[in-house]
Symmetry: C4
Subunit: 228 residues, 4 copies
């Protein structure tokens, strides 16, 4: 995977994160339009679309750039020696830029104003606890798959599945990703988050990620049971 | 795969595309009949049926003809040397004929008039942008899987998943396939598209496909990391 | 697979078909109870439960008896030399008995009268055409997977997927199985079929199966590209 | 798998069962909140979230502790010599403690009182029969996959699928797990069960598990066709 030049890998992260956000925001708009009075149905459709797209993107972009699409995943991989530290800034920048462009693309596909100010309030201890749990769950699943020698297909299925589950079992519908959180702060649609609520979400996500890293290090210790 | 005579492979494309369209159009009729007032539910059922059928067809017909079912996929494969150029006309003809017959079969299964004139308006910049994005996403996923050495099962899962996602994240519900677009222009049911809107859809699909080919060539360059 | 004594393999077919029918009939009862006025939702839940159970049963019973659960599949396998002809009567008897017991079990789980007379009318050319198409699609998928060397997991996914798709794209909700049809004729619930309509369904299924066998023989000819 | 110290494996069972219960209870709360008047939709969302989370957890924790998350599975594995008997108490304790903490975590994420007394009545012959059937089906699927040499991914898919199916085809929505049953007795939400009903459920689950063990021993006899 690290055979490709950094520029191309960052471009792959950009395109993958762009399509991911187009899916998250776009399917939210469609679901809300078609089921305005049945929020459970709208969230179910949003869940199916997000998980399916995530599965396809990891299968497709995994061989290009790792298909991380998440700054916390990139940093955690670097911390564990699976990703070069000097690649991290380009990856994170590509993920953030890709996410923002993905939101704009979703607006474009639905003929909405490209620039919007999100008004969806997402704040409070329950939301923050939810984000910490969601990010912990996502990273523990990623670490567990990787340590256990999962194939890329298993990895893709596990990531898509835990996100689908966490969309429903957390009170925050599981952002679990700072790049996604930022990108969702510029849309005033179903998937939006008020800009002032971004910081709390990202802080909680970092906490959950740290907890997952601690558990992973304790469990596997010095042993490096990495996939062959 | 190319071991089979062209006639048989074209026949396999015909049957696969026929069953795909029977699924797209037939499940649209059923969904609309059972959930006339809950469009989100109808589209969700249409999505599940389409993605499941696509998965099964690629698993089953992949070893026969490649299970491409899409002229743009066939042309892209030929351009990349994975499909003989002189097979392309027979493949495309079989896909178009199979699609049209699949729509007729769906009408027959529901006791509707076989020949219909679609009246569902699908036009405008947002629809065209959506089709370009959907086709770009489909082809980039196909190329990424193939370049990364995906197995047929992973390939099938990725294609079914990106179509399921794009049914929801695009404003056009993701046709992403000229043969499917043509076949949906002869049904005045849930899945239909007005004949005069076909050209715009196909043009947008070609644009999205071209963009995916450009990205693929830039990313992988002269390197031909093809599956063994 | 043929290493096990016939009695055990027939017992495995009995248990697998019993659980399949418990799933088909039981989830129909539950879905109808929880969504009496939204038929699309009831059918979606019935579809999810059936496809998921089918996937699990094929993965689990595949190594015991082949997990065919369908007389037409058993006969088609025997015709192609993949199953001994003298095993067929025991298999078919086990499938039919298992299916009937599965329906009774579903009634028991919901506290309904064990013996019921189905009143759900399912007849007419559109229904018969639908059953022929559904059975053709099921068998063509099974043959294609097997000829292409699919693993048991791919086979299980393909079968579950085509059934899920055909629940929605056929007008008959895809029985595609004489043992299932018979078992559904003794329940007056969501999944039922009037006893007098069974013959038409089974005849249409046989027609669809024959068509699939003809296509398979023409396509693969004398070549016996069987999985290693 | 048994290479890891017992403490770590028990900790992994604790975390896995905690996340499983957070998913079961949490998604029930969310589903009930978003679809209070459409119980079929609420159960469908609960099903999707549970099955997806289960799939991810088995893929991730399988290599750590086996991801059993169920005392009956642990005991059955010990009985068949796949798990050391002296590990069983720690595993079961971790599963029960993890389950209870998972319910508390779900309450915390939704800002509900942490300690609750369940009032959801789940009793009667139909419920008990359902739990016996659900546990029989779960264990027979686990045994069949393991005996047939299933990979971890196939195993994870089969377990998630049979649970998804049994959520719908049993009258009890398939607890099939004493640790889960206990954990659901301390929540007065969608997924709750009245404490006095726990014993009946667990007894029925034990009966179903015993039946599965008997069938498994009869079918496979002295032959130990275990995965390589």
């Amino acid at each position: 995977m690290q055979a490709w030049p950094l520029l191309r890998r960052a471009a792959a992260e950009f395109v993958a994160t762009l399509l991911l956000l187009a899916a998250v925001v776009g399917s939210g708009i469609m679901a809300d339009k078609l089921a305005p009075s049945v929020p459970a149905l709208a969230l179910l459709c949003n869940t199916v679309a997000t998980a399916a797209t995530l599965l396809a993107l990891i299968l497709a972009f995994g061989a290009m750039s790792g298909a991380q699409m998440n700054p916390l995943v990139t940093i955690a991989m670097a911390r564990r020696g699976k990703q070069a530290w000097h690649d991290v800034p380009a990856y994170v920048a590509a993920q953030i830029a890709g996410g923002l462009c993905g939101t704009l693309l979703a607006h474009g596909m639905y003929g909405l104003p490209l620039l919007q100010k999100a008004s969806h309030v997402r704040s409070g201890y329950d939301q923050w606890l939810s984000e910490a749990v969601a990010t912990f769950a996502l990273l523990i699943v990623i670490f567990g798959c990787e340590r256990g020698g999962a194939t890329r297909a298993q990895f893709a299925a596990a990531v898509a599945a835990i996100i689908a589950g966490a969309y429903w079992f957390t009170a925050s519908t599981s952002f679990a990703n700072p790049a996604v959180t930022l990108a969702r702060s510029i849309t005033d649609t179903f998937a939006g988050i008020r800009p002032t609520d971004v910081l709390g979400f990202v802080a909680a996500q970092c906490l959950g990620a740290a907890l997952a890293i601690v558990f992973d290090r304790w469990f596997f210790g010095a042993t490096s049971r990495e996939p062959a």
